[in-house]
Symmetry: C2
Subunit: 376 residues, 2 copies
């Protein structure tokens, strides 16, 4: 089978290497690259050479970004070519559109590599749904922020010090906003919700990152037997659903609290199977390449995932509610004292908590908030 | 599609319930039960009614035990009926024979439910192997012993107290040997090794349980930043492999050390995907029933796992080596002092360690041993 790669950066090279060394029956015959980077006879700068090639069945998009990825994926699906992509931004933005195009043309869209790198997360949600309702999911889905929190804890260092080191090591971008403000997790959470709840997930939901997390904040949580992790979460019940991205203060004995370095840990809760957790490398050339090649092999085995988002679920923020901790000098409505510089607000939704944080940030730009679920 | 259940105990009832309530297109038309338990019109005490029924495509065996399960599975496979089983004892004993019979008749053998309950563990090993070599695996695969260790730690109680409670709660059998002496984990480890390494795994390998674990032993480990967990493990390299079941002293910050109650956590290490860990309910009516029904659904989708054990790997105990801790009043060869009542032997194989424990038990029946891997 002939396939084409769109992009030959870190992920594209990983796919190329894995297929060449480990997979029989698949040939990467074309690679789309920029005009000044055509270093391989398979490379072309013209997408027409790929979408117009009848011998190419499958297009693997690993360019990233919204455009031209969106246009190229649409064109491939319209031409009846199936698409494998690792591009969470474009899938989060255009999932419903791609799914419709695929259904119309008979092609299929494969998205395992958009979330949690080498962890078979999308496939596991789909598999669980063959029998169960997925009543909730949550997860550490961003390696950069987990690396930062883990290193802050181990070294007793503050946020900026560790962020600087992560940037030097290549674990964080020069502009780290997508990671530390939760945008990356927001895209992955949206995609996971679409698959888990079979719904074209709302684009607007509460997103809070860890930009204002401090050593003092972690010390305070530690004193209460907890640590903070940035989680993407979703829940459904009784025809309603909610999603959110936010720091969560978890017991130190939880698996999540013990996830080291830049690893990911994702959880689903199924009706009969109960909780299932999956841990692994959430990014990187070979783990993400592995996820893409698994999708290519599924395609070869005749597997054709289909997304119709047929569930008519209502968005209801109240489904994600808990106590929330605020570390701020601002006054927070309906709060009670918790500890030095920290107050607690009981039983509010993630959406209400995000609004309260927004207000606090206007007074104190260093305000930090974390969900503080009751134990047990 | 018509299927038959062999046995209607906890697991069989779980399968029946899940299929009835949640799966379309599958009917449980026959159930094999003892003559004095025929409480349902589908039930029969005669296996001929099932193996001779041409409308039954698939037989789900959830009786447990070696006989008559072995005879019934063989007869079904010989008759060209595929078999789904949760019976780890019979698969561990007869895996090679069943695999040959299935290849000959064109039927298939499904074994997801033999290991780690609702966790998609066998499927995940098979999926990883589409691309990677599985270089090692390990796991907490027995909920009863994990419950005991977890409760001993949380309550500061001794082994017998917690074992008694586990028996009251139904988490442990009246004769707990299969769990606490590692026999159950031995069977699951053997099956996982067959699948992970594509080899008809050796029947004789080191197996040590936790029967002699004490509160004092856990306290000593805790003082050194560790806890003990009963692990099944396997490794392969350079055409060789080894397997073992034994307590392992793990850092308290490891995910394994934080697995609560009767949950399981299993790990594989793949060439390109790196480490993947899977956590969930390792037993129980609905989780194990879920694993069986997943196999039934795979069968319906045309998936036919095949095991040919074609890898000519040599068994080499040296592949599983580490430092070992012995808590005993007996003298242990080549040991060095470690702490009060405990000595360490550096860099020996699991097989050598098991032999040393055997010698120590002759002098001190309370001797305890745990692998003590170096950190990092």
């Amino acid at each position: 089978m002939n396939i084409a790669l769109l992009g030959h950066g870190t992920v594209g090279r990983g796919v190329d290497e894995i297929i060449t060394e480990r997979v029989e029956g698949v040939d990467v015959t074309r690679i789309l690259e920029l005009p000044d980077r055509l270093s391989d006879p398979r490379m072309t700068a013209s997408y027409d050479d790929i979408v117009g090639d009848p011998e190419i069945e499958l297009v693997v998009e690993c360019m990233g970004g919204l455009e031209p990825a969106h246009t190229f994926i649409s064109a491939a699906l319209a031409a009846g070519k199936s698409v494998v992509t690792s591009n969470k931004a474009v899938v989060a933005e255009h999932f419903g559109e791609f799914a419709r195009q695929a259904r119309t043309s008979g092609a299929a869209l494969f998205i395992e590599a958009t979330c949690a790198g080498g962890i078979p997360w999308i496939a596991s949600i789909q598999k669980a749904r063959r029998i169960d309702d997925v009543t909730s999911f949550s997860g550490i889905m961003n390696g950069t922020t987990n690396f930062i929190v883990d290193a802050m804890l181990r070294e007793g260092a503050d946020f900026d010090v560790i962020l600087g080191r992560a940037q030097e090591l290549g674990y964080a971008e020069r502009d780290p906003s997508a990671d530390i403000d939760g945008i990356d997790v927001r895209n992955k959470t949206l995609i996971a919700a679409c698959v888990a709840f079979d719904v074209d997930c709302a684009r607007e939901f509460p997103v809070t990152g860890i930009r204002t997390l401090t050593k003092a904040g972690l010390d305070l949580l530690s004193h209460h037997g907890r640590t903070a992790k940035l989680l993407g979460r979703g829940a459904q019940a009784d025809g309603r659903y909610a999603v959110a991205v936010e720091p969560v203060a978890l017991p130190k004995s939880s698996l999540e609290a013990n996830v080291p370095a830049n690893f990911n840990l994702v959880t689903l809760e199924g009706t009969t199977v109960g909780p299932l957790k999956f841990y692994g490398q959430g990014a990187g050339m070979l783990p993400t390449g592995n996820a893409i090649v698994q999708d290519v092999l599924d395609y070869m085995q005749g597997i054709r995932p289909s997304y119709d988002f047929s569930r008519d679920l209502a968005y209801d923020p109240a489904l994600l509610s808990s106590d929330y901790l605020f570390m701020t000098t601002a006054s927070v409505a309906a709060s009670e004292p918790f500890d030095e510089g920290a107050v607690l607000v009981r039983d509010i939704s993630a959406q209400r908590a995000r609004a309260l944080l927004g207000e606090a940030l206007e007074t104190d730009a260093a305000s930090f908030m974390a969900a503080f679920p009751q134990e047990g």
